[in-house]
């Protein structure tokens, strides 16, 4: 009996050696042709990596994968802070400024990264060119400040035109629009068309059972300043010149501000727009209260859920419009990312964790949730798989997003004081929209205030 047991054990041992011990390696190795993890090739036993990241439902799913990293490397990942974008930004800034950094991996974002540039490591020290190759070059360029790569991107977001197919496809509306405006009704491709169609849909549905506002946008804080910015760029303008002098009171600035003001004044956007931010505008579209607008891709799965949204299955996506500049599409975009603080205790281990979190497999799994990938290898896989989906928008949506990220992606001006500037500017833009000041007065006032801000911050020293 003892012999038999011994023989059985010996056979089991041999089998396990041949097949591979179930445990670390098998959990970290994906199917051979599937997306692969990275950053698991070093033994980090006994090391605790402290993590300060962005919180919120779509972002936190990724953190479940920490256990895979912990099992494979022996490291322990300790989350020291999770908060929304503005909370984590505040947390990081306070710790960087006060010299009290208590984390090894920090959240970052292309719109915010210029603030942190003096406090984070150059990621090229930790990533080889080969490891960086799959990431979007446009994003890496946008995150490179004075030759320093300040972050490794995690996922990106850019706005696409979301439009109601039931309204745009309505034959009566099509005929009426063409007779009134002289061109066919189709998802707007220019900023001028957006105005016409906003006017049309607001008026034509006014006395129906389901009135809609033509369009909308988030009406306060950085959200408003950012939306203005992409329209300004599409109209051939910009916030600053090369010497960081504010120049948005020029012709493009006046046209953009006037466009926003006219939409509000004439009631083509919701009257509470100045109090609305991302969730409110998304809810308006979800409830079927808006005909079309520019929105981030991140809301897609929510909009397509018939249990939560009236527009499920009744909307389409198209590229952002061009403005008077002719060939420039709106494309204010950003990418969530990770950095290593200069004051981090375990930089090498932090780099390993970032390699893991931005690896093909984690990025692929995260993109299944609707977030836009920043790695070319993940895009190829996603588009191939979307072909089998029953959702008719699955492939066009991904192709459109990939095209926008490749061709239309631009960040806000990369300076440390973007948020300070937007805080100064957005209330004046609201004043213009609400008619408290004229467009020219408001822009002149904003430019003067911005000059004062930039003076204080030493941009002209």
């Amino acid at each position: 009996m003892r012999k038999k047991i011994g023989l059985l054990l010996a056979v089991l041992l041999i089998c396990s050696v041949i097949v591979g011990v179930p445990g670390k390696q098998s959990t970290v190795r994906a199917q051979d042709d599937g997306p692969q993890y990275a950053g698991l090739d070093k033994d980090l036993s006994g090391i605790t990596i402290r993590f300060a990241g962005i919180g919120g439902q779509p972002y936190e799913a990724m953190y479940d994968s920490f256990k895979v990293f912990e099992e494979a490397t022996g490291a322990k990942v300790e989350i020291v802070f999770l908060g929304d974008g503005f909370e984590i930004d505040r947390y990081l800034k306070q710790n960087y400024a006060a010299g009290t950094v208590d984390f090894d991996v920090a959240w970052n974002h292309t719109s915010f990264t210029a603030q942190y540039v003096d406090f984070v490591e150059d990621m090229r020290q930790y990533f080889t060119e080969e490891e960086l190759a799959p990431f979007s070059p446009a994003i890496l360029d946008a995150a490179t400040i004075d030759g320093k790569l300040t972050l490794i991107p995690r996922h990106a977001d850019i706005s696409a035109m979301h439009y109601r197919t039931d309204l745009f496809g309505n034959a009566d509306y099509q005929a009426q629009f063409e007779s009134e405006y002289g061109y066919p009704l189709a998802p707007p491709t220019t900023i001028a068309e957006m105005y016409d169609m906003a006017e049309f849909f607001t008026n034509v549905t006014k006395d129906t059972d389901s009135p809609v506002y033509g369009t909308q946008f988030a009406g306060k804080e950085e959200a408003l300043a950012g939306r203005f910015y992409e329209l300004l760029v599409a109209n051939g303008g910009n916030y600053f010149n090369e010497d960081w002098e504010p120049i948005f009171d020029n012709e493009a600035g006046v046209a953009t501000a006037q466009w926003m003001r006219d939409l509000y004044e004439n009631g083509y956007i919701p009257p509470d727009t100045p109090n609305n931010i991302w969730p409110e505008v998304a809810q308006n579209f979800c409830d079927g209260k808006v005909a079309f607008y520019l929105e981030w891709y991140g809301w897609y799965s929510y909009f397509q859920d018939p249990n939560s949204c009236a527009v499920a299955g009744k909307f389409g996506l198209t590229r952002g419009p061009v403005g008077t500049a002719g060939d420039v599409h709106t494309g204010w975009a950003g990418a969530h990312a990770f950095s290593i603080p200069k004051d981090a205790e375990n930089k090498e281990a932090a780099a390993q964790l970032i390699k893991f979190l931005t690896s093909e497999r984690v990025a692929y799994e995260e993109s299944q949730l609707g977030l836009l990938a920043v790695r070319g290898d993940v895009w190829g896989r996603l588009i191939a798989e979307a072909g089998a989906s029953e959702d008719p928008l699955a492939v066009p949506r991904l192709e459109l997003a990939q095209q926008q990220i490749a061709e239309d992606f631009f960040t806000p001006p990369l300076f440390a004081d973007w948020i300070s500037f937007t805080d100064l500017w957005f209330p004046t833009l609201q004043s213009i929209m609400l008619g408290d000041v004229s467009v020219e007065e408001g822009l002149a006032q904003a430019v003067e205030e911005t000059t004062g801000l930039m003076e204080d911050l030493g941009y002209y020293d």
Binding site: R90, K93, P274, L434, D436, D456
Partner: protein
């Protein structure tokens, strides 16, 4: 003032406290206190001893109030930006007044100052009138006064932030209670909702309503306590003289309640002059600075924009406003302490 500065204040305070303890320890060991105390003339000991007893209190007040205040005044003369601490935290005589000069011509600051005073005047006075009315009615309740008092105090049990969220929802244009009620009653079209928190002057009015709803009970409770403590003899004498309710109220209740009224007004004025929480949640001073108050302006300038120098200068205006109100109301309080 703000978390980062507080951190620096507290670390400064800690350093001072630590140094103080060390120095006191050395002095304690080196100096023969008993011997020194015996050197003090006997007739002066009674004067010096109470002063020695309050020394720790004075030191603590210096550390937790005057040091941060002094630091904040100092910061207000610099262009301090927390992301450029080394570069911007410097005092230069030529530019020391720059923040204040800007404030002088800053329309938003002037507006926030006006809004704060308007908010203060309207809410405190309305709360006073309603509180006085309710206190007089409740003083006459003969049965269930305890239950009524408890019900009355319910709004005080909510955190101001929650009250802010609640009223922000009430006045929301799309899904708010007010607009829904008005639509149901046929007073408003579905496709033409009223943006209460956006329009002038309804944004300010909405903030005032939220603040009044929350704070009338405290005013009522103070005035009710005052009313119940008034001597009955005066009312009995007045009734014998044929004085009606209004005359009794005017000539007995109001003069005798004056100290209570002034205490209630002082507490509420100080509270309202630093209005932040409800405003932060409901409108955050917007849109277009229409509901901007001093503290929302200072808060945004510091926390969001990192401009601590400018924010400290704005805060000084808030502090001065608070001090002026306190001085005025305390003077009135002293005047009201007339012995009948």
């Amino acid at each position: 003032m703000l978390s980062l500065l507080t951190e620096r204040f507290s670390s400064g305070v800690f350093v001072i406290m630590n140094a103080f303890t060390q120095v006191m320890g050395i002095i304690w060991r080196l100096l023969p206190f008993g011997y020194l105390w015996n050197l003090v003339p006997y007739d002066r000991r009674r004067t010096i001893f109470p002063l020695l007893l309050i020394v720790p209190t004075v030191i603590i007040i210096l550390m937790v109030v005057l040091y941060p205040l002094g630091y904040s005044v100092y910061v207000s003369f610099t262009p301090l930006n927390m992301l450029r601490y080394e570069k911007t935290f410097h005092f230069e005589q030529s530019t020391m007044w720059r923040n204040y000069e800007r404030l002088k011509d800053d329309e938003i600051f002037i507006r926030s100052l006006k809004n704060t005073i308007l908010f203060l005047a309207v809410t405190v006075n309305t709360e006073f009138v309603l509180g006085l009315l309710l206190s007089q009615l409740m003083a006459r309740v003969t049965w269930g006064q305890g239950l009524l008092r408890t019900i009355l105090m319910i709004p005080m049990m909510f955190a101001p932030v929650l009250v802010g969220f609640q009223f922000a929802w009430f006045f929301n244009a799309s899904v708010g209670l007010v607009n829904n009620a008005m639509t149901s009653l046929g007073l408003m079209q579905l496709n033409d909702p009223k943006p209460w928190l956006v329009d002038k002057p309804t944004g300010m009015i909405a903030l005032m309503i939220a603040s009044i709803w929350m704070n009338v009970p405290i005013m009522t409770i103070i005035l009710l306590a005052g009313t119940l403590s008034l001597p009955n003899e005066l009312y009995e004498a007045a009734e014998v003289d044929g004085a009606g309710f209004l005359n009794q109220f005017r000539h007995i209740t109001l003069p005798l309640l004056r100290p209570f009224i002034l205490i209630a007004l002082t507490i509420r004025s100080l509270d309202v002059s630093r209005a932040y929480d409800i405003v932060r949640i409901m409108t955050n001073g917007g849109p277009a600075h229409r509901t901007e108050m001093i503290w929302t302006y200072a808060g945004r300038m510091a926390i969001r924009s990192n401009r601590y120098g400018m924010a400290s200068a704005i805060s000084m205006a808030g502090v001065i406003l608070g001090i002026l109100f306190t001085l005025y109301l305390f003077r009135q309080l002293v005047k009201s302490r007339v012995v009948y």
